[in-house]
């Protein structure tokens, strides 16, 4: 029963970029294996990686094969299925590519082994956000499941997380970003500065939030707090009273007709925005790029309360040992050595080891994507498609500007089940 749970949940941020790529990756991977002489094929190391990560890309598998001779077999799932698979089918993968809030759920099951940081060549290059929660020494630690809170254990075998940095790293961070509201600058007719603006009566019937409970509730929390309705102790771990207040507020807004629709999949959010049904909504950065690619103005609007952030990393399956484990370390060191980082940065995500990624990006790319400078030439996606014209500036500015203003991380609440039940009431109301 539990194994027959593969669902087609539409196109999510996680699956958009890589479902096809992963399928192609599998095909290409197996093709490469059969292409080699028999003996090589038998000794070659294959690592099976699964996950939600947008980093599950065919290009990465191909480059890994080229640089290391390691065959990567990638499987893409959505986040719920990933959490389940991580726990229930621990032998079916070697590398888990999962988000930090999923790690919080699955690590206590003992399916992921911590990494010895002395074997991680680029450990000191990893941005401090993932070690102590602070991007710069004076940053404020964000609420929710901040990666550093689940980043370390005292020793192998522990199932509880360490309070501070230790020699055992649970996951090497790979990819992360800061999410905010998307707007149609041509249709909103005024400056949007705060999460509360989505509830402006002027946008009645023209606003939308996403109908994925665990993320939607966070966006709702950002809105509630921005409106001054409530002050959460921790947005990422609400009490039942806080959940009640938030959901009651959403139900009232829904009945007043504030929302045009609720979206569940990536393409829905793109269509709502590009058709003009909605002028302000929760959005993911590739969706904003997709609307722009249609020639329609769309802005990923930075807001004064800050961003809702998410991040993922690579974890080692507990069953890895010997040559396989060495190969996994080798793969992770390669992953953080720069090529992948540059690739991810160029897609608008962030790499965890910025210094190494810089060497694989042109000065103009680094300036546009990371430093928030106007583009000097055309900015191209990894596949060569022009994303931005000269003179364009990235919404939200530089890496420090964006990741330095994270208000909350995607998270899993203790009252998760209650929250989901109340969320369903909101949708049914």
């Amino acid at each position: 029963m539990t194994k027959t749970t593969k669902r087609n949940a539409g196109i999510s941020r996680r699956s958009l970029l890589k479902t096809g790529a992963a399928a192609a990756g599998l095909a290409a991977g197996s093709g490469l294996v059969t292409g080699f002489p028999m003996i090589w094929a038998q000794t070659a190391i294959t690592l099976r990686q699964f996950g939600t990560g947008v980093s599950n890309l065919n290009d990465i598998a191909a480059k890994c094969k080229e640089d290391l001779g390691i065959t990567l077999e990638m499987t893409a799932t959505d986040s719920d299925a990933a959490a389940q698979r991580a726990v229930t089918q621990a032998d079916s993968y070697d590398i888990a590519d999962i988000e930090y809030w999923i790690l919080k759920k699955v690590f206590p099951a003992g399916v992921i082994q911590p990494m010895d940081i002395s074997k991680l060549k680029y450990y000191d290059k990893i941005v401090p956000l993932f070690k102590n929660g602070k991007l710069t020494p004076d940053s404020v630690i964000a609420q929710g499941t901040a990666p550093h809170t689940v980043g370390f254990v005292e020793k192998p075998g522990d199932t509880t997380f360490a309070a501070a940095e230790t020699g055992w790293f649970t996951m090497v961070p790979t990819i992360y970003n800061a999410d905010t509201l998307g707007i149609r600058p041509d249709l909103v007719g005024r400056d949007i500065t705060t999460w509360a603006d989505i509830m402006d009566p002027a946008f009645k019937g023209k606003a939308s939030i996403l109908n994925i409970p665990s993320i939607g509730i966070m966006d709702a929390a950002m809105i509630m707090e921005a409106m001054g309705n409530i002050k959460y102790a921790d947005k990422g771990n609400m009490t039942t009273e806080e959940i009640d207040k938030t959901i009651d507020f959403l139900i009232k807004a829904k009945q007043d007709g504030q929302f045009r629709a609720f979206w569940k999949s990536f393409d829905e959010s793109v269509n709502l925005m590009s058709s003009g049904e909605v002028v302000i909504q929760s959005m993911w950065s590739p969706a904003v790029a997709a609307v722009r690619a249609k020639g329609i103005a769309c802005k990923y609007q930075p807001l004064k309360e800050g961003y809702r952030s998410w991040g993922g990393g690579l974890g080692l399956a507990a069953h890895l040992s010997g040559a396989q484990l060495d190969a996994a370390y080798e793969y992770i060191n390669w992953y953080t050595s720069g090529w992948v980082g540059g690739y991810l940065n160029r897609q608008g995500y962030y790499s965890a080891a910025m210094d190494t990624a810089k060497e694989y990006m042109s000065a103009d790319e680094w300036g546009y994507w990371i430093e928030g400078k106007p583009a000097e030439g055309e900015i191209k996606a990894p596949d060569g498609k022009v994303m931005e014209k000269p003179g364009a500036v990235r919404d939200g500015g530089s890496f420090l500007e964006r990741m330095g203003h994270v208000a909350c991380w995607n998270s899993v609440m203790d009252e998760d089940r209650y929250m989901v039940r109340r969320w369903n009431e909101f949708i049914a109301s």
């Binding site: 029963m1 539990t2 749970t5 669902r7 949940a9 959505d78 719920d80 299925a81 959490a83 389940q84 991580a86 726990v87 229930t88 759920k105 699955v106 099951a109 019937g205 939308s208 109908n211 409970p213 829904k254 929302f259 045009r260 629709a261 609720f262 979206w263 569940k264 269509n271 709502l272 058709s275 003009g276 049904e277 998760d416 989901v420 039940r421 369903n424 009431e425 949708i427 049914a428 109301s429």
Partner: protein
């Protein structure tokens, strides 16, 4: 002979015992003939339903299912006002869509059966009715969005003609849109069985009625409608079960603002709450079976077969 009879009287079980093998042998071909269907239904219908029923009593957390026998899933499903409200909402869709598809479907079938003279033309027009089915369900549904949207065909036309000053927003992402799409998708399921029954009505009955002085209305009410009932009942079963189990139409056309029972199940499954979804499925199955039983009590569809 008499001894055998005496023996049989004295010991009826002995008689049974001696006759059973031959009776079994006689019935054997029937059993063999029924076996393939029984196996298929058993493996692909009965077994999954039983499995769903079993899982509905299990316990679960975020990742795992625990075989158990608990009633929490049912208590949570039946004890929540969301469930009741969602069922009411789904039933509302079912009733409205049923009434509309029955009305439209009957008249389309009536026209095809009684007003088109040649059998060839009837078949041609009937095939025309099925043309939309050459594309997928989802495409037919989604194609309404650019028509009904805020900047869609209908609104643009109305505004340019000066009929309305601002776009009508209830055309899309509303109950209206859901019902419209469902009627569009499901009317053919009503047309087909009704057309089939209407074609079987003996035309001499209509002639006899006319000879007896009945007018068109009386013929319709007293002859055609009663004889079309089995077709209507079959169409009703199709439409009602389709609407009760629908989630994509509700999700897409209401813009996620409205809930249906199947959508609720889908939400639970996407959060890996399989036992809760299974309990919901069992409840829905019972409700739909009662509805079908009700329809069958009112109309004898075996007349159709």
């Amino acid at each position: 002979m008499t001894a055998a009879i005496d023996d049989a009287i004295a010991n009826p079980a002995a008689l049974k015992r001696t006759r059973r093998p031959s009776r079994f042998l006689a019935a054997l071909p029937s059993y063999i003939q029924a076996t393939p269907l029984a196996l298929i239904l058993g493996a692909f219908l009965l077994a999954p339903v039983l499995m769903i029923a079993a899982v509905s009593f299990w316990d679960y957390d975020f990742a795992r299912l625990y075989p158990d026998f608990i009633l929490t899933n049912y208590a949570e499903t039946l004890g929540s006002w969301v469930t009741w409200r969602t069922y009411l909402n789904t039933l509302k869709y079912a009733v409205i869509v049923w009434a509309l598809t029955l009305f439209i479907g009957f008249w389309v079938a009536y026209y095809l059966a009684f007003h088109i003279r040649t059998a060839t033309m009837q078949m041609v027009l009937f095939l025309v009715c099925t043309v939309p089915f050459l594309t997928s369900n989802i495409i037919r549904m989604i194609s309404w969005i650019p028509v009904l949207g805020r900047n869609g065909l209908v609104n643009t036309t109305l505004i340019e003609l000066g009929i309305v000053p601002a776009p009508i927003t209830w055309l899309l992402y509303s109950d209206f849109a859901v019902v419209l799409a469902m009627v569009h998708l499901y009317t053919l399921f009503m047309v087909t069985p009704i057309f089939n029954t209407l074609m079987r009505i003996d035309r001499s009955l209509v002639e006899a009625a006319r000879d007896a002085g009945a007018n068109g209305w009386q013929i319709l009410c007293n002859i055609i409608l009663p004889l079309a009932k089995p077709g209507m009942a079959i169409g009703t079963i199709f439409v009602v079960t389709l609407v009760m189990a629908d989630f994509t139409t509700v999700q897409v056309m209401s813009g996620g603002q409205s809930a249906s029972v199947a959508l609720m199940m889908r939400n639970q499954m996407s959060l890996l709450q399989y036992p809760a979804a299974a309990a919901n499925a069992v409840v829905l199955l019972v409700v739909v079976l009662f509805m079908v039983a009700g329809i069958l009590r009112v109309v004898d569809i075996r007349k159709e077969l």
